[in-house]
Amino acid sequence: MPLDTSTYSLALLRLDGRRWNELRNIHAQISTQAAADGSSYLEMGNTKVLCTVTGPAEGRQSGQRGGKDNEAKVEVEIGFAGFSGLERRKRKNDKRTSEMQHTLETAYSSLLLTHLYPHSTITLNIHILSQDGSLLAACINAATLALIDAGIPMTDYLVACTAASSATSAESDNSDPLLDLNNLEEQELSFLTVGTLGRSDRVSVLIMETRVRMERVEGMLAVGIDGCKRMREILDRVVKEYGQRFS
């Protein structure tokens, strides 16, 4: 495995110098855009995401304004900046992006109190400025911050994080799970993205795309959930710091 496992087991440090359970540097701001109803900017290491919220407002299409059963509809639009990846590639609306949009839409439509806003749409615009792993997690965290900024009522925070298993085979014992992956690690290891309601352990989003032994899932999930808790503390601080300005 090209991810230097030999160095890892010696110094117990990852390629970028982190320990196994260390999050990357996280920087976040809210209310970054004046024009939007709510907005946020989030950096998780070199993954940089900008998110704006519009709504709840009457939807753009005239026919179907709200979601089903007199509830608000959540719409998510994810755009990639041309310079976000290593190669400048024109990304059309491919299936991976629509899957991410679908994930955010379903996660937030059960989390937000959509029944308070019948016949309306809440639009989330997410712009990805730089990609370096944990993309879905960054999108979820940024969206949560932006929704808080927009003042849309929700039952709880949704925070997300990635976790991987560094074991190469089923037998090896040094199967340290890793937290918060960057792009290189994502390409080499099997990982999952988990989104929880920060305070409790309840899992709202769980996406795993690579093959792994079923015994490993438990460890990965446990580390991921733990990471989510810390992520929540960080986001909490961001919101509180912003609130201090008004006190």
């Binding site: 089903k68 059963d69 299936k95 991976r96 629509s98 899957e99 679908h102 994930t103 955010l104 839409e105 379903t106 996660a107 937030y108 439509s109 059960s110 989390l111 999952l192 929880t196 309601l197 409790s200 352990d201 309840r202 899992v203 709202s204 989003v205 769980l206 996406i207 795993m208 795309e209 690579t210 093959r211 792994v212 032994r213 079923m214 015994e215 899932v217 438990e218 999930l221 446990a222 959930i225």
Partner: protein, 299 residues
Amino acid sequence: MPQEAQISVNERAFIQDALKEQLRLDGRAFDAFRPLELTFGDEYGVADVQLGKTRVIARISVDVTTPLPERKFDGVFQIITEFSPMASPAFEVGRPTNAEVVLSRILEKAIRRSNALDTESLCIIAGLKCFALRADVHVIDHDGGLIDASCIAVMAALQHFRRPDVLVEGEKATVLSIRERDPIPLSILHQPLCVTFSYFEEGELFLVDSNLAEEQVRDGEVIITMNRHGEVCQIAKYGGAPVEPYALFNLTSLALQKVKEMSKFIQERLDEDAKRRNAGGLLAELSAENDRPFDRPVG
């Protein structure tokens, strides 16, 4: 976007009440699949799966092309899903619903990304010629459980498919027709199968293989793809109501059990089909007697 007709409030309440009393509308146990039927076509690589009223047909076809420049040693493998209006009036041609996006992504992750098919074996001459394999998934009738049924159909079709043999002489490759040389089965590395769990009552209750009505009432779904060796190929829980993490572990072990059952079923059907194709065995093939219709005069 085209939408499924919504279920009435009466039906919704009734299904939930019934589940509270441990009853499913069709009388199944909570962890039971609907009756599964798998048949193969006359040609290689056609699998027809019926799961209750849901019906999916997968067909594998092969072509020779140049490999992608960044993957010189790999063949090409594509899975194409199509929801035709035949399956449900809610489907429209050319406007993919969310369900369609999810289905194609799950199949992509479950089968293609998990390397179920050894694409290197599809390479003929590195960088010049390779086989392009295409799996077309057609949803013929829709009554829920499309992902599970489609995954079974594609995997069964892949295992059933035989590609033509090739003769390579230097830079020249000749594809031999089925008559010249026996076609070759694909090299399948493992058999991922999907199990969709729908949950109700805030994640207290999990159902396997829900039908359309149950799918409309559920709080959320967890799609787990595993192979019978106990490897998880993919897990997808797209939002929905949150569930306790330990419930998810229980699901993986339940999924493993289901996947083992299904793998066995597919293998049985494949064996039956092989037996049918090779009715007389080698002896019949070598026999000098031709089955000419003597009793029917020509013309």
